[in-house]
Amino acid sequence: MEADGTQVRMADYLRDHHDKVLGRWSELVVIGLRGRTSLEEVQHELGELYSLIVRVLSAADDHAAVELRAALDEMSRSRALNGLTPSETALAVFSLKEAVYELVADAAEMVPEFLAFSRTVDDLGLRTVEAYTAAREQIISDQATTMLELSTPVVRLWDGIIAVPLVGTLDSARTQLVMERLLEALVATGAGHAVIDITGVPTVDTEVAQHLLKTVSAARLLGAECTVSGIRPQVAQTIVSLGIEFGDIATKATMADALALALEHAGLKVVPALWSGYRS
Protein backbone atom coordinates (compact mmCIF):
# COMPACT_ATOMS: atom_id res chain seq x y z
CA MET A 1 0.00 0.00 0.00
CA GLU A 2 1.36 3.40 -0.97
CA ALA A 3 1.84 5.53 2.13
CA ASP A 4 1.18 9.24 1.94
CA GLY A 5 0.89 12.00 4.50
CA THR A 6 -2.80 11.52 5.27
CA GLN A 7 -2.38 7.82 5.95
CA VAL A 8 0.60 8.31 8.23
CA ARG A 9 -1.22 11.04 10.15
CA MET A 10 -4.25 8.76 10.46
CA ALA A 11 -2.01 5.99 11.75
CA ASP A 12 -0.58 8.32 14.39
CA TYR A 13 -4.08 9.40 15.34
CA LEU A 14 -5.22 5.78 15.70
CA ARG A 15 -2.17 4.94 17.75
CA ASP A 16 -2.77 7.90 20.07
CA HIS A 17 -6.41 7.00 20.63
CA HIS A 18 -5.87 3.24 20.71
CA ASP A 19 -7.95 2.39 23.77
CA LYS A 20 -10.81 4.74 22.98
CA VAL A 21 -11.28 3.67 19.34
CA LEU A 22 -10.76 -0.03 19.99
CA GLY A 23 -13.17 0.03 22.92
CA ARG A 24 -15.90 1.78 20.93
CA TRP A 25 -15.26 -0.48 17.90
CA SER A 26 -15.63 -3.62 20.02
CA GLU A 27 -18.83 -2.28 21.58
CA LEU A 28 -20.35 -1.63 18.16
CA VAL A 29 -19.43 -5.08 16.92
CA VAL A 30 -20.89 -6.76 20.01
CA ILE A 31 -24.14 -4.84 19.53
CA GLY A 32 -24.19 -5.89 15.86
CA LEU A 33 -23.72 -9.55 16.81
CA ARG A 34 -26.58 -9.26 19.33
CA GLY A 35 -24.68 -10.76 22.21
CA ARG A 36 -23.50 -13.93 20.52
CA THR A 37 -19.91 -13.26 21.59
CA SER A 38 -18.48 -11.67 24.68
CA LEU A 39 -16.83 -8.23 24.67
CA GLU A 40 -13.48 -9.72 25.73
CA GLU A 41 -13.43 -12.15 22.80
CA VAL A 42 -14.29 -9.44 20.30
CA GLN A 43 -11.76 -7.06 21.82
CA HIS A 44 -9.04 -9.67 21.55
CA GLU A 45 -9.90 -10.42 17.92
CA LEU A 46 -10.21 -6.78 16.89
CA GLY A 47 -7.09 -5.78 18.86
CA GLU A 48 -4.97 -7.81 16.44
CA LEU A 49 -6.75 -6.34 13.43
CA TYR A 50 -6.38 -2.86 14.88
CA SER A 51 -2.63 -3.06 15.29
CA LEU A 52 -2.29 -4.56 11.80
CA ILE A 53 -4.35 -1.73 10.30
CA VAL A 54 -2.16 0.83 12.08
CA ARG A 55 0.95 -0.89 10.76
CA VAL A 56 -0.44 -0.92 7.22
CA LEU A 57 -1.38 2.77 7.38
CA SER A 58 1.98 3.84 8.74
CA ALA A 59 3.67 1.68 6.08
CA ALA A 60 6.20 0.50 8.64
CA ASP A 61 6.78 -2.84 6.87
CA ASP A 62 5.61 -4.69 3.78
CA HIS A 63 4.42 -7.77 5.61
CA ALA A 64 1.66 -5.92 7.41
CA ALA A 65 -0.64 -5.81 4.35
CA VAL A 66 -0.26 -9.54 3.77
CA GLU A 67 -0.81 -10.32 7.44
CA LEU A 68 -3.89 -8.10 7.54
CA ARG A 69 -5.41 -9.85 4.55
CA ALA A 70 -4.71 -13.26 6.10
CA ALA A 71 -6.25 -12.15 9.41
CA LEU A 72 -9.36 -10.84 7.63
CA ASP A 73 -9.68 -14.06 5.61
CA GLU A 74 -9.37 -16.14 8.75
CA MET A 75 -11.97 -14.04 10.57
CA SER A 76 -14.43 -14.27 7.68
CA ARG A 77 -13.87 -17.99 7.36
CA SER A 78 -14.58 -18.67 11.02
CA ARG A 79 -17.69 -16.49 10.86
CA ALA A 80 -18.92 -18.35 7.78
CA LEU A 81 -18.38 -21.65 9.60
CA ASN A 82 -20.31 -20.38 12.62
CA GLY A 83 -23.27 -19.51 10.43
CA LEU A 84 -23.08 -15.70 10.65
CA THR A 85 -24.47 -13.66 7.76
CA PRO A 86 -22.21 -11.79 5.33
CA SER A 87 -23.47 -8.42 6.60
CA GLU A 88 -22.61 -9.37 10.17
CA THR A 89 -19.13 -10.30 8.97
CA ALA A 90 -18.60 -7.08 7.02
CA LEU A 91 -20.05 -5.05 9.90
CA ALA A 92 -17.11 -6.07 12.04
CA VAL A 93 -14.87 -4.03 9.74
CA PHE A 94 -17.23 -1.20 8.86
CA SER A 95 -17.89 -0.45 12.54
CA LEU A 96 -14.31 0.80 12.78
CA LYS A 97 -15.27 3.73 10.54
CA GLU A 98 -18.13 4.63 12.82
CA ALA A 99 -15.96 4.38 15.93
CA VAL A 100 -13.35 6.69 14.41
CA TYR A 101 -15.97 9.06 13.03
CA GLU A 102 -17.49 9.59 16.45
CA LEU A 103 -14.06 10.74 17.64
CA VAL A 104 -13.02 12.92 14.72
CA ALA A 105 -16.49 14.48 14.23
CA ASP A 106 -15.43 17.53 16.18
CA ALA A 107 -11.96 17.85 14.68
CA ALA A 108 -12.42 19.59 11.33
CA GLU A 109 -8.73 19.37 10.43
CA MET A 110 -8.96 15.53 10.31
CA VAL A 111 -11.51 15.42 7.44
CA PRO A 112 -9.12 14.56 4.53
CA GLU A 113 -7.44 11.92 6.73
CA PHE A 114 -10.79 10.42 7.62
CA LEU A 115 -11.95 10.27 4.00
CA ALA A 116 -8.80 8.42 2.92
CA PHE A 117 -9.12 6.13 5.92
CA SER A 118 -12.76 5.49 5.06
CA ARG A 119 -11.77 4.27 1.59
CA THR A 120 -9.21 1.90 3.09
CA VAL A 121 -11.79 0.45 5.49
CA ASP A 122 -14.24 0.00 2.60
CA ASP A 123 -11.65 -2.10 0.75
CA LEU A 124 -11.06 -4.21 3.85
CA GLY A 125 -14.82 -4.70 4.28
CA LEU A 126 -15.19 -5.87 0.70
CA ARG A 127 -12.31 -8.23 1.28
CA THR A 128 -14.16 -9.87 4.20
CA VAL A 129 -17.30 -10.35 2.08
CA GLU A 130 -15.22 -11.97 -0.64
CA ALA A 131 -13.47 -14.27 1.82
CA TYR A 132 -16.82 -15.07 3.42
CA THR A 133 -18.30 -16.10 0.07
CA ALA A 134 -15.27 -18.22 -0.78
CA ALA A 135 -15.52 -20.00 2.58
CA ARG A 136 -19.24 -20.64 2.05
CA GLU A 137 -18.64 -22.05 -1.41
CA GLN A 138 -15.95 -24.33 -0.01
CA ILE A 139 -18.39 -25.61 2.62
CA ILE A 140 -21.07 -26.25 0.01
CA SER A 141 -18.75 -28.14 -2.32
CA ASP A 142 -17.42 -30.23 0.60
CA GLN A 143 -20.97 -31.14 1.54
CA ALA A 144 -21.82 -32.04 -2.04
CA THR A 145 -18.83 -34.38 -2.18
CA THR A 146 -19.82 -36.03 1.10
CA MET A 147 -23.38 -36.52 -0.08
CA LEU A 148 -22.19 -37.98 -3.34
CA GLU A 149 -20.10 -40.51 -1.47
CA LEU A 150 -22.86 -41.33 0.99
CA SER A 151 -25.44 -41.85 -1.67
CA THR A 152 -23.82 -44.54 -3.79
CA PRO A 153 -23.39 -47.75 -1.83
CA VAL A 154 -22.90 -51.09 -3.53
CA VAL A 155 -24.39 -53.96 -1.53
CA ARG A 156 -23.96 -57.68 -1.95
CA LEU A 157 -27.31 -59.49 -2.15
CA TRP A 158 -26.07 -62.99 -2.78
CA ASP A 159 -23.04 -64.85 -3.98
CA GLY A 160 -22.43 -63.29 -7.37
CA ILE A 161 -25.31 -60.80 -7.13
CA ILE A 162 -24.77 -57.19 -6.15
CA ALA A 163 -27.20 -54.28 -5.90
CA VAL A 164 -26.92 -50.51 -6.19
CA PRO A 165 -29.83 -48.71 -4.52
CA LEU A 166 -29.96 -45.20 -5.96
CA VAL A 167 -31.51 -42.45 -3.87
CA GLY A 168 -31.87 -38.88 -5.07
CA THR A 169 -31.62 -37.11 -8.37
CA LEU A 170 -29.26 -38.58 -10.91
CA ASP A 171 -27.02 -36.14 -12.76
CA SER A 172 -24.03 -36.77 -14.97
CA ALA A 173 -21.45 -36.52 -12.18
CA ARG A 174 -23.35 -38.92 -9.98
CA THR A 175 -24.08 -41.46 -12.68
CA GLN A 176 -20.43 -41.43 -13.59
CA LEU A 177 -19.57 -42.26 -9.97
CA VAL A 178 -22.28 -44.92 -9.77
CA MET A 179 -21.00 -46.47 -12.98
CA GLU A 180 -17.42 -46.56 -11.71
CA ARG A 181 -18.39 -47.97 -8.32
CA LEU A 182 -20.62 -50.63 -9.85
CA LEU A 183 -18.03 -51.77 -12.37
CA GLU A 184 -15.28 -51.84 -9.75
CA ALA A 185 -17.50 -53.87 -7.43
CA LEU A 186 -18.29 -56.31 -10.25
CA VAL A 187 -14.60 -56.85 -10.90
CA ALA A 188 -13.68 -57.03 -7.20
CA THR A 189 -16.41 -59.49 -6.22
CA GLY A 190 -16.57 -61.39 -9.48
CA ALA A 191 -20.34 -60.96 -9.44
CA GLY A 192 -22.15 -61.87 -12.63
CA HIS A 193 -25.37 -59.99 -11.85
CA ALA A 194 -26.12 -56.47 -10.74
CA VAL A 195 -29.43 -54.93 -9.74
CA ILE A 196 -29.80 -51.17 -10.14
CA ASP A 197 -32.68 -50.05 -7.93
CA ILE A 198 -34.16 -46.65 -8.80
CA THR A 199 -36.95 -46.58 -6.20
CA GLY A 200 -35.40 -43.47 -4.67
CA VAL A 201 -34.92 -41.61 -7.93
CA PRO A 202 -37.69 -38.99 -8.12
CA THR A 203 -37.71 -38.45 -11.87
CA VAL A 204 -36.42 -40.33 -14.85
CA ASP A 205 -35.92 -38.25 -17.97
CA THR A 206 -34.13 -39.03 -21.20
CA GLU A 207 -30.79 -38.02 -19.71
CA VAL A 208 -31.11 -40.29 -16.69
CA ALA A 209 -32.28 -43.15 -18.89
CA GLN A 210 -29.30 -42.56 -21.17
CA HIS A 211 -26.99 -42.81 -18.15
CA LEU A 212 -28.64 -46.02 -16.99
CA LEU A 213 -28.31 -47.54 -20.44
CA LYS A 214 -24.63 -46.62 -20.53
CA THR A 215 -24.03 -48.22 -17.15
CA VAL A 216 -25.77 -51.40 -18.22
CA SER A 217 -23.84 -51.69 -21.47
CA ALA A 218 -20.53 -51.05 -19.68
CA ALA A 219 -21.40 -53.83 -17.20
CA ARG A 220 -22.20 -56.09 -20.14
CA LEU A 221 -18.75 -55.43 -21.59
CA LEU A 222 -17.32 -56.78 -18.35
CA GLY A 223 -19.47 -59.86 -18.70
CA ALA A 224 -22.15 -59.05 -16.13
CA GLU A 225 -25.90 -58.75 -16.58
CA CYS A 226 -27.84 -55.82 -15.13
CA THR A 227 -31.47 -55.53 -14.08
CA VAL A 228 -33.18 -52.20 -13.39
CA SER A 229 -35.70 -52.42 -10.57
CA GLY A 230 -37.92 -50.13 -8.54
CA ILE A 231 -39.75 -48.47 -11.41
CA ARG A 232 -42.73 -46.64 -9.92
CA PRO A 233 -46.00 -46.12 -11.80
CA GLN A 234 -45.38 -42.42 -12.49
CA VAL A 235 -41.84 -43.16 -13.63
CA ALA A 236 -43.14 -45.88 -15.94
CA GLN A 237 -45.61 -43.39 -17.43
CA THR A 238 -42.87 -40.81 -17.98
CA ILE A 239 -40.61 -43.36 -19.61
CA VAL A 240 -43.34 -44.46 -21.99
CA SER A 241 -44.51 -40.94 -22.87
CA LEU A 242 -40.92 -39.83 -23.51
CA GLY A 243 -40.52 -42.83 -25.78
CA ILE A 244 -37.42 -44.12 -23.99
CA GLU A 245 -36.48 -47.60 -25.10
CA PHE A 246 -34.78 -49.82 -22.56
CA GLY A 247 -34.09 -52.35 -25.29
CA ASP A 248 -33.29 -55.83 -24.02
CA ILE A 249 -32.49 -54.64 -20.50
CA ALA A 250 -34.65 -56.43 -17.96
CA THR A 251 -36.77 -54.08 -15.84
CA LYS A 252 -38.66 -55.16 -12.74
CA ALA A 253 -41.11 -53.46 -10.39
CA THR A 254 -39.35 -54.38 -7.16
CA MET A 255 -35.90 -55.39 -6.07
CA ALA A 256 -37.34 -58.74 -4.92
CA ASP A 257 -38.40 -59.51 -8.51
CA ALA A 258 -34.96 -58.50 -9.76
CA LEU A 259 -33.28 -60.75 -7.19
CA ALA A 260 -35.52 -63.66 -8.22
CA LEU A 261 -34.52 -63.10 -11.85
CA ALA A 262 -30.82 -62.90 -10.98
CA LEU A 263 -31.06 -66.10 -8.92
CA GLU A 264 -32.77 -67.81 -11.83
CA HIS A 265 -29.98 -66.69 -14.19
CA ALA A 266 -27.38 -67.96 -11.73
CA GLY A 267 -29.16 -71.31 -11.74
CA LEU A 268 -30.32 -71.01 -8.15
CA LYS A 269 -33.76 -71.72 -6.77
CA VAL A 270 -35.33 -70.70 -3.48
CA VAL A 271 -37.53 -73.46 -2.05
CA PRO A 272 -39.46 -73.59 1.22
CA ALA A 273 -37.60 -75.47 3.94
CA LEU A 274 -39.20 -78.74 5.06
CA TRP A 275 -38.88 -77.69 8.64
CA SER A 276 -38.12 -74.26 9.88
CA GLY A 277 -37.47 -73.43 13.49
CA TYR A 278 -38.93 -69.97 12.95
CA ARG A 279 -42.34 -71.35 12.08
CA SER A 280 -44.67 -72.08 14.96
Binding site: M179, A219, G223
Partner: protein, 117 residues
Protein backbone atom coordinates in the same frame (compact mmCIF):
# COMPACT_ATOMS: atom_id res chain seq x y z
CA UNK B 1 6.70 -55.37 -34.29
CA UNK B 2 5.58 -57.34 -31.28
CA UNK B 3 3.51 -60.45 -31.83
CA UNK B 4 0.82 -61.60 -29.47
CA UNK B 5 1.21 -65.32 -28.69
CA UNK B 6 -1.74 -67.65 -29.21
CA UNK B 7 -1.89 -70.69 -26.93
CA UNK B 8 -4.11 -73.66 -27.64
CA UNK B 9 -5.50 -75.39 -24.56
CA UNK B 10 -7.88 -78.25 -25.37
CA UNK B 11 -10.43 -76.94 -27.82
CA UNK B 12 -9.80 -73.33 -26.92
CA UNK B 13 -7.38 -70.72 -28.19
CA UNK B 14 -6.07 -68.48 -25.47
CA UNK B 15 -4.87 -64.99 -26.42
CA UNK B 16 -3.48 -62.81 -23.68
CA UNK B 17 -2.71 -59.27 -24.74
CA UNK B 18 0.21 -58.07 -22.64
CA UNK B 19 1.73 -55.43 -24.88
CA UNK B 20 0.61 -52.05 -25.98
CA UNK B 21 -1.19 -52.71 -29.21
CA UNK B 22 -0.01 -51.03 -32.38
CA UNK B 23 -2.17 -51.02 -35.50
CA UNK B 24 0.20 -53.43 -37.24
CA UNK B 25 0.30 -55.97 -34.43
CA UNK B 26 -3.49 -55.87 -34.25
CA UNK B 27 -3.79 -56.77 -37.92
CA UNK B 28 -1.18 -59.47 -37.43
CA UNK B 29 -3.16 -60.88 -34.49
CA UNK B 30 -6.30 -61.11 -36.60
CA UNK B 31 -4.42 -63.08 -39.24
CA UNK B 32 -2.77 -65.31 -36.65
CA UNK B 33 -6.09 -66.15 -34.99
CA UNK B 34 -7.62 -67.02 -38.35
CA UNK B 35 -4.63 -69.21 -39.28
CA UNK B 36 -4.67 -70.95 -35.92
CA UNK B 37 -8.43 -71.58 -36.04
CA UNK B 38 -8.13 -73.06 -39.51
CA UNK B 39 -5.20 -75.25 -38.49
CA UNK B 40 -6.53 -76.53 -35.17
CA UNK B 41 -10.30 -76.43 -35.56
CA UNK B 42 -10.65 -74.95 -32.08
CA UNK B 43 -14.18 -74.13 -30.92
CA UNK B 44 -13.51 -71.13 -28.78
CA UNK B 45 -11.27 -68.11 -28.46
CA UNK B 46 -10.60 -66.41 -25.14
CA UNK B 47 -9.05 -62.97 -25.36
CA UNK B 48 -7.68 -61.77 -22.06
CA UNK B 49 -7.39 -57.97 -21.91
CA UNK B 50 -6.63 -57.61 -18.19
CA UNK B 51 -3.41 -55.80 -19.01
CA UNK B 52 -4.98 -53.44 -21.53
CA UNK B 53 -5.46 -50.02 -19.97
CA UNK B 54 -6.05 -47.85 -22.99
CA UNK B 55 -8.47 -48.61 -25.79
CA UNK B 56 -9.58 -46.68 -28.82
CA UNK B 57 -12.22 -47.33 -31.44
CA UNK B 58 -9.68 -49.21 -33.55
CA UNK B 59 -9.02 -51.79 -30.84
CA UNK B 60 -12.74 -52.04 -30.15
CA UNK B 61 -13.32 -52.79 -33.81
CA UNK B 62 -10.47 -55.31 -33.80
CA UNK B 63 -12.17 -57.26 -31.00
CA UNK B 64 -15.44 -57.35 -32.93
CA UNK B 65 -13.57 -58.38 -36.08
CA UNK B 66 -11.91 -61.32 -34.33
CA UNK B 67 -15.38 -62.31 -33.12
CA UNK B 68 -16.75 -62.26 -36.67
CA UNK B 69 -13.74 -64.13 -38.05
CA UNK B 70 -14.04 -66.82 -35.36
CA UNK B 71 -17.74 -67.28 -36.09
CA UNK B 72 -16.82 -68.23 -39.65
CA UNK B 73 -14.81 -71.08 -38.14
CA UNK B 74 -17.74 -71.98 -35.85
CA UNK B 75 -15.85 -70.75 -32.82
CA UNK B 76 -17.15 -68.41 -30.17
CA UNK B 77 -15.11 -65.50 -28.85
CA UNK B 78 -15.13 -64.48 -25.20
CA UNK B 79 -13.38 -61.33 -24.01
CA UNK B 80 -12.32 -61.58 -20.39
CA UNK B 81 -10.82 -59.33 -17.75
CA UNK B 82 -11.89 -55.96 -19.10
CA UNK B 83 -11.09 -53.11 -16.74
CA UNK B 84 -13.92 -50.82 -15.60
CA UNK B 85 -12.22 -47.78 -17.13
CA UNK B 86 -11.92 -49.57 -20.45
CA UNK B 87 -15.59 -50.57 -20.34
CA UNK B 88 -16.60 -46.97 -19.67
CA UNK B 89 -14.47 -45.74 -22.57
CA UNK B 90 -15.93 -48.28 -24.98
CA UNK B 91 -19.46 -47.33 -23.90
CA UNK B 92 -18.70 -43.64 -24.36
CA UNK B 93 -17.39 -44.46 -27.82
CA UNK B 94 -20.69 -46.20 -28.50
CA UNK B 95 -19.09 -49.61 -29.04
CA UNK B 96 -21.01 -52.47 -27.48
CA UNK B 97 -18.89 -55.27 -29.01
CA UNK B 98 -21.74 -56.99 -30.81
CA UNK B 99 -21.09 -60.63 -31.64
CA UNK B 100 -18.59 -61.33 -28.88
CA UNK B 101 -19.32 -62.60 -25.40
CA UNK B 102 -17.73 -61.06 -22.33
CA UNK B 103 -16.84 -62.54 -18.96
CA UNK B 104 -15.33 -61.17 -15.79
CA UNK B 105 -12.38 -63.55 -15.76
CA UNK B 106 -10.83 -66.42 -17.68
CA UNK B 107 -12.57 -68.98 -15.45
CA UNK B 108 -16.01 -67.67 -16.30
CA UNK B 109 -15.01 -67.37 -19.95
CA UNK B 110 -14.14 -71.06 -20.05
CA UNK B 111 -17.44 -71.84 -18.36
CA UNK B 112 -19.30 -70.03 -21.13
CA UNK B 113 -17.41 -71.92 -23.84
CA UNK B 114 -17.81 -75.30 -22.11
CA UNK B 115 -21.48 -74.71 -21.44
CA UNK B 116 -21.94 -74.21 -25.16
CA UNK B 117 -20.22 -77.38 -26.34
Amino acid sequence: MERVPIVKIGQTLFVSIQVELQDESVLRLQEDVADELAATGAHGVIIDITAVEIVDSFIGRMLTMIGSISRLFDAETVIVGMRPAVAITLTELGLSLKGVRTALNADKGLEILNGRS
